[in-house]
């Protein structure tokens, strides 16, 4: 056992311990954690408006249960894929504590990645049962797909959205190595995300020109793609090419992150030294 473990590369050998630390940290700050989770109110607020709209009939093919399912799925995907690693990175860059990560014999992004994985796991422990309950209580379960192939696609879509959210959040955090106002870049990013990702409104509700503009951007792949698959708005023949495109965006964003990091970390001495 120990021989098998020591033959693993060091970054992989460190992973279980780092994951455990991430979980324990999330658990230690559980009250804060839950307050953060409660702050995700926007899907409920949009659902209230849309419910008022559907009192007088359907809109763009959405009726009341369809909207309920859409926004509950939105809430689920946001909880499972959202990433706020940018805040931690900006703070560590500003205060110079990033140096502590740089001297360790592992890639600093690996620390952030594993911490994000354990945070997501902890968040899913709370959010998945509660949102499942909401589906049942609100009577929206019937609008979800049951086909195992499509469910598999939805899971893939969630995984892809997680990777995109994490790498892009980390990439904007890495910008902190170049410019002081990377937080402002994040604010802009979140603003675009809100509008174009289908988080506020299903993209189908947009006027056609805005919808096609949104779909040519990466934002839908960060949020609405798995929601649309889960709520049965794509069949298998549509879902697979979209997932491929998501994988393409993910590969591109990983490359961007690594490039930004490699060039940026050389400039870090400016803060620490």
């Amino acid at each position: 056992m120990s021989a098998a473990r020591s033959s693993l590369p060091p970054w992989l050998r460190a992973a279980p311990a780092l994951l455990r630390i991430g979980l324990l940290e999330a658990f230690a700050y559980r009250a804060e954690f839950i307050v953060w989770m409660l702050s995700t109110t926007m899907p409920f607020i949009m659902l209230a408006l849309m419910s008022a709209v559907t009192r007088e009939g359907t809109i763009a093919g959405f009726d009341q249960p369809a909207f309920t399912a859409y926004y509950m799925a939105t809430l689920l995907v946001r909880h499972l894929t959202g990433s706020w690693v940018v805040w931690q990175m900006v703070m560590e860059i500003r205060q110079g504590t990033l140096a502590l990560k740089l001297v360790r014999p592992l890639h600093p992004l690996w620390f952030y990645f594993l911490e994000a994985v354990s945070t997501t796991f902890f968040r899913s422990l709370i959010s998945v049962p509660l949102i499942a309950l909401a589906f049942v209580l609100l009577g929206a379960g019937g609008s979800l797909v049951t086909d195992p192939a499509l469910l598999g696609c939805a899971a893939l879509g969630i995984a892809g959205a997680w990777i995109l959210n994490f790498t892009l959040s980390a990439a904007i955090g890495t910008l902190g190595l170049y410019i002081e106002s990377s937080v402002a870049v994040w604010d802009l990013w979140i603003g675009c995300f809100m509008i174009f990702s289908g988080y506020l409104l299903p993209i189908e509700l947009f006027p056609p020109w805005l919808a096609s503009a949104a779909r040519s951007m990466p934002f839908p792949y960060l949020q609405s793609l798995p929601v649309e698959i889960m709520t049965g708005r794509h069949d298998l023949a549509h879902a697979l090419p979209l997932l491929l495109r998501q994988a393409g965006w993910a590969a591109g964003s990983i490359a961007l992150l690594l490039l930004l990091w490699r060039r940026g970390v050389r400039r870090f001495a400016a803060y620490g030294g």
């Binding site: 607020i45 809109i59 763009a60």
Partner: protein, 262 residues
């Protein structure tokens, strides 16, 4: 009284000078404000494009609610939140002692200590939306209606401020509270729609427990001349009562304060 006005002027001057140091922030702040405007308006425009009327509100009328949401959000971000963050910091680090020994009311000092002037852009955009809404409606409010809306706005600011003061008071007992501000913001987001959108228990919650209806929907109704006088007066009385209670709790909390170092 004149002493406090002089103090207020001095505090405002200090905040403005501080903000003027970071001029790039002004540009970024302006862009962000425009951005938030787009993302507040977009759902409204998209949804009302499909229906002439939702929950009893036409687009022009609903825009008045959005306008008041922007206005109050601007005031909240410009004046209430910065002070809230500052005082929670004071409590955590123990520097509140320096405020308490100053010969002026501590509540006044902490709540005027920090302004973010750039956020005024948000509030101004609210006024802009209101003007646009009336152009769209084709009628203009009478002076009395504007007066009623302004009185309700003052009451709303009093409620927002009192809620913030309650959060600060809680910080004397539970130290880590910064994220309650975000929760508060997230709940305030519900004020962007006319309150008739909400039904059942939610309507009661947002009218009486967290009076969001009072803050954005009532001023809009007042401008449209649809708010009953008794409802308006009751709202203002409720706000005044709430402010008095918040002040009493703050005084108790500060008596409880034992400084972080001791």
């Amino acid at each position: 009284m004149s002493r406090y006005l002089r103090l207020l002027a001095a505090q405002l001057r200090a905040s403005t000078q501080l903000a003027l140091q970071y001029r790039v922030d002004f540009v970024i702040g302006g862009v962000m404000s425009l951005f938030r405007l787009v993302w507040t308006l977009l759902p409204v425009l998209v949804v009302w494009a499909r229906r002439p009327e939702i929950a009893g509100w036409t687009l022009g009328e609903a825009l008045l609610v959005v306008a008041w949401f922007r206005l109050l959000n601007g005031i909240l971000e410009a004046a209430v939140h910065p002070a809230l963050v500052a005082v929670i910091d004071h409590i955590r680090t123990g520097t509140l002692d320096f405020v308490l020994v100053k010969p002026a009311d501590a509540q006044f000092l902490v709540s005027t200590a920090r302004f973010e002037p750039w956020r005024v852009i948000d509030a101004l955009s609210g006024v802009g939306i209101a003007v646009y809404a009336f152009l769209k409606l084709g009628v203009w409010p009478s002076a009395a209606q504007v007066g009623a809306a302004l009185a309700l706005t003052v009451a709303s600011v009093a409620i927002l401020y009192s809620l913030a003061l309650l959060v600060v008071s809680a910080a004397f007992w539970v130290v880590r509270l910064d994220n309650l501000i975000y929760l508060f913001n997230a709940i305030f987001d519900a004020a962007r729609w006319p309150s008739t959108v909400w039904r059942g228990a939610w309507r009661i919650l947002f009218t009486f427990v967290i009076p969001l209806a009072l803050m954005t929907t009532y001023p809009a109704l007042a401008l449209l001349g649809r708010l009953a006088l008794t409802t308006g007066l009751a709202a203002i009385a409720g706000a005044a009562l709430f402010a008095v209670i918040a002040r009493a709790i703050w005084l108790r909390a500060i008596a409880h304060y034992t400084s972080a170092s001791s």
